[in-house]
């Protein structure tokens, strides 16, 4: 209703300052909005859905360097599933994704609460935590690559301070390198989560706090039992944002570990790009890309469905 009322003046303005001449016919506002959306819809359908279909079609072909339509069924998927590197990448995605999302959410929320409690020099801390966000993942990757390098990074610095036996060489350990990815990722994105949570916390009705104080509820109980459930939509937003970042994680791993040692810290996105661009394995890369999509749908789909369903029901 309110939508329709808002859009009416816009239509009038479109008539171009000659209100006397009225068009014979006039589109219903909703139809006009729909027409206005057509270009966006076409772009979305062509650039997004059509390419998903195309990727799937390519994944069923023998394509290597060039797209050729020589269908081989699910042969590329068979090859993909036989590849140790693919499974390492998928496993890494699970580890990195869990740690990254959990780490960012917990640390971001904790920082937001801290700032919300009225820490001194709030602006300073906000800037400090937000600053990494202004850097690209490539820069983050490079910085952490230096810091984690066992020969001249943190390990070396601590040893110089006198702790000769100090060991922090995760980045060169095939079974630990993936955790360094989570560290660098959290470092960069925690500011974003903090900002979102802080906005959420500031949006909480002050009366809630007053009431809680009158009832004598301890502050931590207010956070766990009242405020946190109220911030559910914010948690959802943070989760979706971070999930998207995890799935497309590519630049960070390229800059930080190069997928190494070996391919121990490889991620699916890097696997796909590597196979499509460097190895001329278009079919295999497309199969990998399609499996990534399936993973997203499998993980986020049900959650998204439930959330949307719930919010509709509430209205």
């Amino acid at each position: 209703m309110s939508h329709a009322e808002q859009s009416r003046p816009a239509i009038l303005m479109a008539d171009g300052g000659a209100p006397a001449v009225r068009p014979r016919w006039r589109l219903a506002p909703l139809t006009a909005a729909r027409i206005a959306l057509i270009p966006a819809a076409v772009i979305t359908i062509v650039c997004f859905y059509a390419f998903i279909v195309w990727t799937f079609v390519i994944s069923l072909t023998r394509s290597r360097l060039l797209p050729v339509y020589d269908f081989v069924g699910f042969d590329q998927y068979r090859r993909l599933f036989a590849s140790a590197r693919w499974w390492t990448a998928m496993e890494n995605l699970a580890i990195h994704g869990t740690l990254f999302i959990a780490g960012c959410t917990v640390a971001g929320y904790a920082l937001a609460i801290m700032i919300d409690r009225g820490v001194r020099a709030e602006g300073f801390f906000r800037t400090v935590f937000m600053l990494p966000l202004s850097m690209s993942f490539i820069v983050t990757g490079l910085i952490w690559q230096w810091m984690l390098n066992p020969v001249f990074g943190i390990q070396d610095a601590v040893r110089d301070l006198g702790w000769e036996g100090f060991v922090f060489n995760w980045i060169v350990q095939p079974d630990r390198a993936i955790y360094t990815l989570a560290i660098a990722g959290i470092w960069q994105q925690v500011g974003l989560c903090m900002a979102l949570f802080l906005a959420g916390l500031r949006g909480v009705d002050p009366n809630v706090w007053k009431a809680a104080r009158i009832d004598g509820i301890p502050t931590w109980r207010v956070y766990t039992d009242i405020v946190t459930p109220m911030l559910r939509p914010v948690f959802f937003t943070v989760f979706v944002l971070l999930s998207a970042l995890v799935m497309k994680s590519f630049d960070l791993v390229v800059a930080l570990t190069g997928g190494g040692p070996g391919f121990a810290s490889d991620l699916p996105a890097r696997f796909v790009v590597d196979h499509i661009l460097n190895r001329q394995e278009l079919g295999l890369g497309a199969a990998g890309a399609f499996m990534m999509l399936c993973t997203v749908v499998a993980v986020i789909g049900p959650y998204l469905y439930r959330e949307i369903h719930k919010s509709r029901g509430a209205r």
């Binding site: 360097l65 060039l66 095939p174 190494g260 040692p261 070996g262 391919f263 460097n278 001329q280 394995e281």
Partner: protein
């Protein structure tokens, strides 16, 4: 927003292309776009030699540099699919180029090759790989060798270690260097560098015939042989002689370790000479070079080449012919390769100005039996090339893996990729 910027970029690009296309007078007959990935200082100076020769003979060179070989190859392929093939483009000769040629995207320069007698001067292995259907589809420019061993002379002297001639000798020397507190091998821990080291070991332990069978024919019996096992054992023994900071290190950082004396040896291609020269070290002096320990003389070749987009425009064709002639010109080959650190692809070119390493290489490849393919995109298909890197890198970075497991991983990974 990024998309819109891209579109604007494309739009401007098109506008410029159209404008220059219309504005170009018919007089500048031999105008050609040259797409390449030689963007670093030394590389671009070397390419400058080709460019000035091309210009001196009346050509107009429209430079399209794209950083990174993989990016540049992808860009060239994308443009071909989009029916806008660059007139001249750098590409690795091998299976990929043949596939492109088979699809009609690549023109041939057989006329120039026949007139210039390329068959007589090119190493037979390179001539074979540069041809599709009996016609040259690329003009090879240089040969890089991958089985080099660079060493810090002062470090070896101080530790009282002689330059090793065999792999057992090397292992013994490396043990002594490690005991003396020097990192024996400066290794850049990226899959392709680990592969260069492995292939060097494979050649040294198995010999060139074995190497040619494994990579030239992808012969399964050879891959499952005892020689392969020995190669994996030797390779595994090297794990202990690399420092902790190796994983992810770039090759030039490893060369810097060698120059500083932090490490004693580096096994890499002769592109390392570029770093030496840039640091004011004459290759073969403070940092020495030898072909890596091996049973018999052999040279693992990586070849840089330029190829030619299919076109029906006679002016572009003329420019392509000119480029092919320029590339194979002996003087251009000398000038280019002295800057690039590689050796001429023409076997009839010798020049006193080459450094001692290049002279050794030129002398070695006089015998065609020494010619071997690099598995980095020369000779083998990129799927197999990638599989080789994967298998070797996985083995190298899994210290618990035994040589037997390494061998079966190698056989299986390559089998899956072909």
């Amino acid at each position: 927003m990024r998309v819109s910027m891209l579109m604007t970029g494309l739009g401007t690009g098109l506008a410029v292309a159209v404008a220059t296309g219309l504005a170009a007078p018919a007089a500048t007959a031999q105008t050609a776009e040259v797409l390449h990935w030689w963007t670093s200082g030394g590389e671009s100076a070397a390419l400058g030699e080709v460019r000035s020769a091309f210009t001196a003979r009346g050509g107009t060179w429209n430079d399209t540099p794209i950083a990174g070989g993989a990016n540049a190859r992808a860009a060239a392929v994308n443009r071909m699919i989009g029916n806008d093939a660059p007139a001249i483009f750098q590409f690795s000769i091998g299976e990929q180029l043949k596939e492109l040629a088979a699809q009609g995207f690549v023109g041939d320069v057989q006329e120039v090759a026949a007139a210039g007698g390329w068959d007589a001067v090119l190493p037979p292995l390179i001539a074979r790989i540069a041809k599709e259907d009996g016609k040259y589809i690329a003009a090879p420019l240089n040969i890089h060798g991958e089985n080099w061993m660079f060493y810090n002379t002062a470090v070896l002297e101080k530790a009282g270690v002689a330059v090793p001639k065999t792999w057992p000798e090397f292992l013994e020397a490396a043990g002594r260097l490690k005991a003396a507190g020097v990192t024996p091998i400066a290794l850049g821990g990226q899959p392709w560098q680990e592969r260069v080291l492995f292939n060097t070991v494979l050649l040294g332990v198995g010999g060139r015939e074995h190497y040619a069978k494994v990579y030239g024919d992808l012969d399964e019996a050879a891959m499952e042989s005892d020689a392969m096992l020995e190669a994996f054992s030797t390779f595994a023994a090297l794990r202990g002689f690399v420092d902790e900071g190796s994983p992810g290190r770039r090759w030039n950082e490893a060369t810097a370790m060698l120059m500083r004396g932090d490490a004693a040896f580096q096994f890499t291609g002769d592109w390392a000479k570029g770093e030496l020269v840039a640091a004011g070290i004459e290759p073969g002096t403070a940092v020495g070079c030898m072909l890596a320990p091996a049973k018999d003389a052999a040279y693992i070749m990586a070849v840089d080449a330029f190829s030619f987009g299919a076109t029906s425009d006679p002016q572009v064709k003329a420019a392509q012919k000119l480029m092919a002639e320029v590339i194979m010109d002996p003087q251009v080959q000398i000038a280019f390769n002295r800057r690039k650190g590689s050796i001429p692809v023409r076997t009839d070119v010798t020049d006193p100005g080459f450094d001692s390493c290049a002279k050794l290489a030129i002398a070695t490849i006089k015998d065609p039996a020494t010619h071997l393919v690099s598995t980095g995109l020369f000779g083998v298909s990129s799927a197999v090339s990638g599989a080789i890197d994967d298998a070797i890198s996985q083995f190298w970075n899994s210290p618990s893996m035994t040589p037997e497991q390494g061998r079966s991983l190698f056989v299986q990974t390559i089998g899956d990729a072909r």
